[in-house]
Symmetry: C2
Subunit: 318 residues, 2 copies
């Protein structure tokens, strides 16, 4: 059984963690977003990859969802004293990851291989696959102008209205062979509950990647990141509204009509199930909120079971 999971940051990492603990070693591959990667202090930061990596390694801070549990802030405070940028919180253990990644990238190693090295060093028995080895940078159009993603998201705390989203460099980004192979090998493909516009969106925007997913033999199942029209974390709901999408689970389904065989929605949104089925996808109604590790594992197991039920029915369609 080979499972591929598309995941962005905190919410996606939680479900990826549930899948990781519900499957035998090396059964899972996680396809991660790199469009919110950025350079701080000269270091290459990959926030989404790291959130997944730390979550799978059991090192993630359970309160924030990002960063490492019990990390300290000595270097950050010293950098601030030395006049460096102090608005992005990097802990001392976390900084080691960025130093090591930056060093290996500077040696010419592709991000795919760098990420694999870091995961192996942390004892993670799965592959974490960057969507591309090329530089892609999400930029957000706001009333304050076009902002680099972390400027919008962290520094300004995603309060600005969003008039547009751009993935700078995406036209030249190449899907790595590791990703193509993982899509081809997958028995089921999950879209974790991540922001559809700035987490899953960039992954699908790498030229050819959406088509590869559309043509995959495996059933493709998403978990809606909206519950009762609200994102549990982050600005997905406001972003969708600002950009003219319906900020509901039905709106989520409409973003993926060409891609999904099934959508997992929260019991709160049960009434939307018929309209979603009318879009041509199956619906599983369950409790999708992941308060704790037990919730993650239960949701992951429900999804794995549902994918087994869906597969025979879908086989003729593929």
């Amino acid at each position: 059984m080979k499972v591929l999971a598309l995941a962005g940051g905190v919410g996606g990492a939680k479900l990826a963690g549930g899948l990781y603990h519900s499957l035998p070693p090396h059964s899972l591959a996680v396809l991660g977003n790199t469009a919110d990667d950025f350079t701080l202090w000269g270091l290459h930061i990959s926030p989404d990859l790291d959130t997944v990596m730390y979550t799978l390694a059991g090192l993630a801070n359970p309160v924030t969802g990002w960063g490492l549990s019990g990390d300290t802030w000595v270097t950050l405070e010293a950098i601030r004293r030395l006049g460096g940028e102090g608005w992005f919180a990097l802990g001392d253990q976390d900084i080691a990851t960025h130093i090591r990644r930056t060093e290996l990238l500077a040696q010419g190693m592709p991000l795919t291989e760098v990420t694999e090295r870091l995961c192996v060093a942390l004892g993670i028995q799965t592959r974490l696959l960057p969507m591309t080895n090329d530089d892609v940078h999400t930029e957000v159009d706001t009333p304050a102008g076009r902002l680099p993603f972390q400027e919008y998201f962290v520094r300004r705390q995603h309060r600005d209205d969003v008039h547009g989203i751009h993935f700078a460099g995406i036209e030249n980004a190449v899907v790595p062979a590791t990703v193509t192979d993982a899509i081809a090998a997958a028995d089921v493909i999950f879209f974790c509950p991540s922001n559809p516009l700035v987490s899953i969106g960039p992954i699908l925007a790498v030229p050819g990647l959406r088509e590869q997913l559309r043509e995959a033999k495996a059933p493709r199942i998403a978990v809606s990141p909206l519950i009762g029209g609200v994102a549990l974390k982050g600005p997905a709901d406001k972003m969708m509204h600002d950009l003219g999408f319906e900020a509901t689970t039905l709106g989520i389904a409409r973003l993926y009509t060409d891609l999904l065989d099934g959508l997992v929605i929260d019991t709160v949104d049960a009434e939307l199930a018929p309209a979603i089925r009318d879009l041509g996808m199956q619906v599983l109604v369950t409790d999708t909120i992941m308060h704790d590790v037990a919730d993650r594992n239960r949701l992951a197991q429900e999804m794995l079971q549902w994918s087994d039920e869906l597969r025979p029915a879908l086989a003729p369609m593929h």
Copy 2:
């Protein structure tokens, strides 16, 4: 009163600290060695500049002489777990310095200006002047081959016999205007008790710098780094012996005959004073061991007073 002090690492930094505390703000300039700078984890480390900087800022670790008092090791330990180099001890506060330096250098700022920025941020009211803004790297010939300096010095703990010393890149190194100006403006020039071959040596080897010091109007006074033929710290004695120099304070004097007006030697070496005077320099015999801050300040004040006494006698010679 303008004082210029040539200083290498720990021993030199101690006397520089004594001078700093014995003079009005902005009276002292320290000319530092950059030939043991190296790159670790992709970060530009300047061990000698940092030792001086932390000492002047009152932040130096009083036990080791290098690094910061009370620093922690979280990032270093995490880097080791991630497969990075772990043989050079960089604390978390210290790492902030290297990150910031590397970031500013990558933006094209010369090391002179980067160093000034760091010193200002740490509240240091003196100038710390790199000997050059160009890359110079000390290499040491040993039975194990030619080794980068930190490989010889830290990783192999300066146990190897030394067959030769090279300052790679020195032929293209340029004396910064800040250094030329500080030499011209100095009322006295001190050579702190640093390793003559790998700390003071590279400074003097920057093309034109030794000549500028030789032609300086100010009296030039060194403190011997050897006491009874022994270096209090580091391999200066063994290095001198291995390379065929006499590893005594007289041997030190012979290295600088073209440069020095006076040499400060320890009471232990008082018997060498006549032979040193025969080389054409004045001698001050005193206690040169700096156990604590009071010792540093006393030695600095003795030297300042002696330079006042020497100046009138030397004026006609210059």
